[in-house]
């Protein structure tokens, strides 16, 4: 009977299993699974990226505006970070919410540790980072984001780094912090003030060496070399706007998943219709790519050959593809209004786009740009595939 049910799930692609139901658990690998966040309904879909079908719909995850997720190292569980401070652990094979804790008033995202045992959540309110046991979601450590004589800062750009560390930035204080969690009972936090005005997000290079901080309050970015912490923060691309008046920013760019293609980094020029291309290590500007609007996500195809970009309002109906060798825009797509996020299949032959206002996810072939599948989803936003489980910083 159970096997029948599983087969029915795969064929009909409509297995909506209520939270708590465990008799319909699938027995299969999870390497080609993922989740799609449905942000206004507080739900998510578990999807099969090989067959382009929904396997489960899971409800009751609270406020999922700006939700993101990381995966356990066995890629069975997703940890979902909600706006309302909720941290939810979801079982991809059984399609159910395992546990949910509301750990703060307002959060922005998080990371899972190198060894997979700890989950860190960055909070806006009350600020700071909270660390949880990945197995039980029990609280393990609390890292306040206060500075001398100041209020708590909002925390942005939480990433994992080799050496059982988490790295994060303080929006108001303009500071980067590196927390060593080898001993979770006594985290060792190293502070790097002077990151610049209003860090809004950050990324870590796929090798875990460089932590790059985007700044909202000034033209430029800051880089911390985690192999040489004594060198401190380095400001790169100062004054990239060249005095040109920035446009109003209707949506902050997101740096996580931003493009490192070989030795080239593709970074957003905040308030401009441009990507900045810089050389890794020297952080010298190699060029600029004029694009359709203000970039929000720029994600590199796993082989590094293409970068796909979506845009802020009022240009969020468009996606562009950039060739990383020629730095030319080679294709422009119009998937529909409200393209919120994009995620590549593990080896990059397909890309999934969430098209919020059309209530669907679209799957494109990345070689010939044809539309291969559409999946209905309620106001989809973030898309996260399990291949992230084995990548530093995702």
């Amino acid at each position: 009977m159970r096997r029948l049910l599983q087969a029915a799930c795969l064929v009909l692609a409509s297995c909506s299993v209520a939270a708590g139901a465990s008799d319909a658990c699938l027995s299969r690998g999870t390497g080609d699974l993922g989740i799609v966040v449905e942000r206004t309904s507080g739900s998510l879909q578990v999807v099969d990226t090989t067959r382009h079908v929904e396997l489960f719909r899971i409800e009751g995850l609270g406020d999922l505006s700006h939700a993101s997720a990381v995966f356990s190292r066995d890629a069975r569980y997703a940890y979902v970070f909600g706006r309302d401070g909720g941290l939810s652990k979801v079982d991809l094979l059984c399609g159910r919410l395992v546990k949910r804790v509301v750990q703060a008033g307002n959060s922005i995202g998080g990371a899972i540790s190198q060894d997979g045992r700890l989950v860190a959540v960055g909070n806006y309110s009350p600020g700071g980072v909270r660390i949880f046991d990945a197995e039980t979601l029990d609280p393990v450590a609390d890292l306040p984001a206060t500075v001398e004589g100041g209020a708590a800062s909002k925390v942005v750009g939480v990433v994992d780094a080799p050496g059982q560390r988490f790295v994060y930035s303080l929006f108001e204080a303009g500071e980067v912090r590196v927390a060593d969690l080898h001993n979770p009972a006594q985290p060792a936090v190293t502070r790097f003030p002077g990151a610049g005005a209003n860090p809004y997000d950050a990324l870590i290079t796929p090798d875990g060496r460089y932590y790059i901080v985007g700044l909202f309050g000034e033209d430029g970015l800051s880089v911390l070399d985690l192999w040489n912490l004594s060198g401190g923060l380095e400001r790169i691309l100062p004054g990239y706007g060249r005095g040109e008046r920035p446009l109003p920013v209707y949506k902050m760019p997101h740096l996580e998943g931003w493009a490192m293609a070989g030795d080239r980094a593709f970074l957003p020029a905040v308030g401009h219709h441009q990507l900045l291309v810089v050389e890794r290590d020297s952080w010298r500007e190699l060029g600029r790519v004029a694009v359709h609007g203000q970039p929000v996500f720029a994600v590199v195809r796993p082989d590094g050959r293409q970068v796909w970009v979506n845009f802020a309002l009022p240009d969020n109906d468009t996606v562009q593809v950039i060739d990383t060798q020629s730095l030319m825009v080679i294709h422009t797509l119009k998937p529909g209004k409200g393209v919120m996020h994009l995620e590549f299949s593990p080896r990059g032959e397909e890309v999934w786009l969430s098209v919020r206002d059309q209530n669907e996810v679209q799957v494109y072939d990345t070689e010939d740009f044809t539309l291969k599948a559409r999946l209905p989803a309620e106001a989809p936003s973030g898309i996260f595939f399990t291949a992230r489980a084995h990548r530093i910083g995702l």
Partner: protein, 109 residues
């Protein structure tokens, strides 16, 4: 920048534009739907889709109760310099901003 400072900055601009704000018809139905959508998703990207706050402050009825409609309209149209709040004037009329302020003050239906 704290909220008080932001509002005091917005005040001169507000006084200059008061004449335009005072009168005007509410947006038509289709536009109201588009504005409701904008409030949910685009204001929501910083203030939360439930307006409980995020990078921007919470905008629930209790949070905006102490501020005049005019001041809130001015913040929407002109933004708050020095913060991520952008000027929405390129995308919204004054009547539309005023309609959004009424939705904020009334709270979700």
């Amino acid at each position: 920048m704290n909220a008080r400072k932001a509002f005091s900055l917005a005040l001169p601009i507000l006084l200059l534009s008061l004449g335009g704000i005072a009168a005007g018809a509410p947006p038509e139905d289709a536009r109201q739907q588009a504005l409701q959508h904008l409030l949910l998703h685009d204001c929501g990207s910083c203030h939360g889709t439930r307006l409980t706050g995020g990078l921007g402050p919470p905008l629930l009825p209790a949070d905006v109760a102490g501020k005049t409609d005019e001041a809130l309209v001015a913040v929407i149209l002109n933004g708050v310099p020095g913060t991520p709040m952008p000027p929405w004037r390129p995308l919204l009329t004054e009547d539309e901003a005023r309609w959004l302020v009424r939705r904020l003050k009334e709270g979700p239906p």
